[in-house]
């Protein structure tokens, strides 16, 4: 990637770099050529790295005080809140940090959907990102079980029972997951073990995600390739680091707002009641970031069908790069796709709202409409629009689009095929 070979200045640096080229890697990361037109939607990669590290650091600290046992877990969480020095702060950062992590990852994903960052040659980056997203959901779910409140217990019961929908082996798989004949102490114990493991798996995938990113380089708001050699790029440091740092500061203000002023607004008050296997709370709802998928699950009047559609809603994203037939990446130049994009955003938000409402009456009808549209967007809209749409003229280079303040048709080439 680097234009020229990196040579350490000091003698010891050279000695070390000859044996382990870490300094070369550092130089690559510092000088990494980045499109100069990246907007603030591109700062969420850095924000997400911050979120992951925050969860790991606060999580390691919480594990020093938490007890993973059905009889003691709830009390140990209250012990963290009341007795441990700054325990309340660390736990609130960790629990709200999960929500902030998902907020950032959804913006990151929808940025990719808008600017076509999932398209060739970046399919592998996209797929690794989805694997990270799946692991995030698993980690968040297991983490929510650990306080062993009513929502923990019944959330765990409902989610693990999803696997009992599998024909023939479903019940054996569920018992195997539980390590008991219901959600019980063995379940809590293994969830703690896995909850501690998953962030480090995510960290490994993040390294691969960034590595895969550094092969083709960043996509950008106009979605065209960088011309080399050209003035289309700036070095990552200091141009992108300072922009990322500013965005991160803004993000941390919102984060701190939740932690200090409404630390429980994203949670559910039923989880401050200790787990009781004899009583199900009247209204079971998952955390907000899983609501759209929960709405899809409930919209199907068949157990297996609901489970298949819910997982299908996530797994269809893995083939997205091949469902979208348009060669133009950025929605800026796709007038038809742009409208469907916003309809899709509204559809997902509506599904999220339906997931929080009881599954009856008009809510159920709208959830069904939303579910059907969700799949139509991927299976029908994306392939067809890509083939029929007449895209707008695309700028010749990033510099041109930057200097003219947008896509100036008089400077643009007319054929979109050379992308």
């Amino acid at each position: 990637m680097s234009e020229h070979e990196y040579k350490p200045k000091s003698k010891i640096g050279k000695w070390f770099n000859d044996r382990l080229p870490l300094l070369t890697l550092g130089a690559h990361l510092t000088d990494y050529p980045t499109p100069k037109n990246l907007n603030y939607w591109w700062t969420f990669g850095g924000i997400l790295t911050f979120c992951l590290l925050t969860q790991i650091v606060t999580g390691i600290v919480l594990a020093m005080h938490y007890v993973a046992h059905a009889d003691l877990a709830f009390a140990s969480v209250e012990h963290i809140m009341r007795d441990v020095n700054f325990g309340w702060l660390i736990r609130y950062i960790h629990s709200n940090g999960a929500s902030m992590f998902f907020l950032a990852v959804y913006i990151h994903i929808f940025r990719s959907l808008f600017y076509g960052s999932y398209k060739s040659p970046r399919e592998v980056i996209w797929i690794i990102g989805l694997m990270i997203y799946l692991l995030m959901m698993a980690a968040a779910f297991m983490g929510y079980v650990l306080p062993w409140g009513q929502m923990s217990f019944w959330g765990a019961t409902v989610i693990t029972n999803l696997f009992s929908a599998i024909p023939l082996v479903g019940d054996s798989i569920t018992t195997w997951l539980w390590g008991a004949y219901s959600v019980d102490n063995p379940t809590l114990n293994r969830f703690f073990s896995l909850h501690y493991l998953i962030p480090f798996l995510i960290l490994g995938l993040v390294v691969l995600h960034i590595w895969a990113l550094h092969v083709p380089g960043n996509n950008n708001p106009v979605g065209i390739d960088i011309k080399k050699p050209s003035k289309d790029t700036v070095p990552f440091h200091p141009y992108i680091t300072i922009k990322d740092a500013f965005a991160l500061l803004m993000f941390m203000i919102i984060f701190a707002g939740f932690v200090f002023f409404s630390p429980n607004v994203l949670g559910h008050s039923d989880n401050y009641i200790p787990a009781n296997p004899l009583v199900t709370p009247a209204h079971i709802v998952p955390e907000w970031y899983l609501l759209p998928f929960y709405a899809i699950l409930r919209s199907v009047p068949d157990k297996l069908g609901g489970v298949i559609l819910m997982f299908g809603a996530i797994f269809i994203l893995f083939v997205l790069p091949w469902l979208d037939t348009s060669k133009v990446r950025s929605a800026v130049f796709r007038p038809i796709y742009r409208q469907f994009y916003w309809i899709f955003v509204l559809d997902v938000l509506m599904l999220g709202y339906m997931g929080a409402m009881p599954a009856e009456g008009i809510y159920l009808v709208l959830a069904r409409v939303g579910t059907i549209y969700y799949f139509l967007h991927f299976i029908v809209v994306l392939p067809v629009v890509g083939l029929l749409e007449k895209t707008d003229p695309i700028p010749m280079s990033i510099s041109e689009s930057v200097l003219s303040g947008g896509a100036d048709p008089s400077l643009a080439r007319k054929d979109n095929e050379k992308i």
């Binding site: 008991a180 004949y181 019980d184 063995p186 296997p277 009583v279 709370p281 409930r298």
Partner: protein
Amino acid sequence: MSKEEKKVNRRDFLFTASYTIGAVGLGAVVWPLVHQMNPDKAQQALATTEVDISQVEPGNSITVLWRGKPVFLKRRTPEEISEARAVSLSDLPDPQKDEERVKDGKDEWLVMLGVCTHLGCVPLKDKGDFNGWFCPCHGSHYDVSGRIRKGPAPKNMEIPKFEFVDSNTIKIG
């Protein structure tokens, strides 16, 4: 394809034998790692529970915990029994006669797992459209025999293995 000789030689044999032994060894290592997650001996030891039913009046029910799951023991009134038996099997998503869900001669006692067959919540008693149980999680309705009538649950509530130790005691499991 070139016309190289394709006879099996020593090296092919060694490859196949090594892979086979390797696969068997890997399986032998993986299985304990997988099986350790299944219910352990302490969990299996909790497999039976004895319940004193002498205090339960007709029309009432009690709930006990068995293997971490609630079990409903309902002493049904004659009206409830006849209501359960009047239902036509064609109205049931999971057709099963009420007689098959109780012990012969003890048909006032309905003993079943209080676990919704949809996603495992505990249904509420005396609720729903069929005078039986209603699951608040995703809206499944069960009748006085604990059979699914309406909603996403696929099956009737499960009848565990149980027996009458004497006229006042039921052993579950």
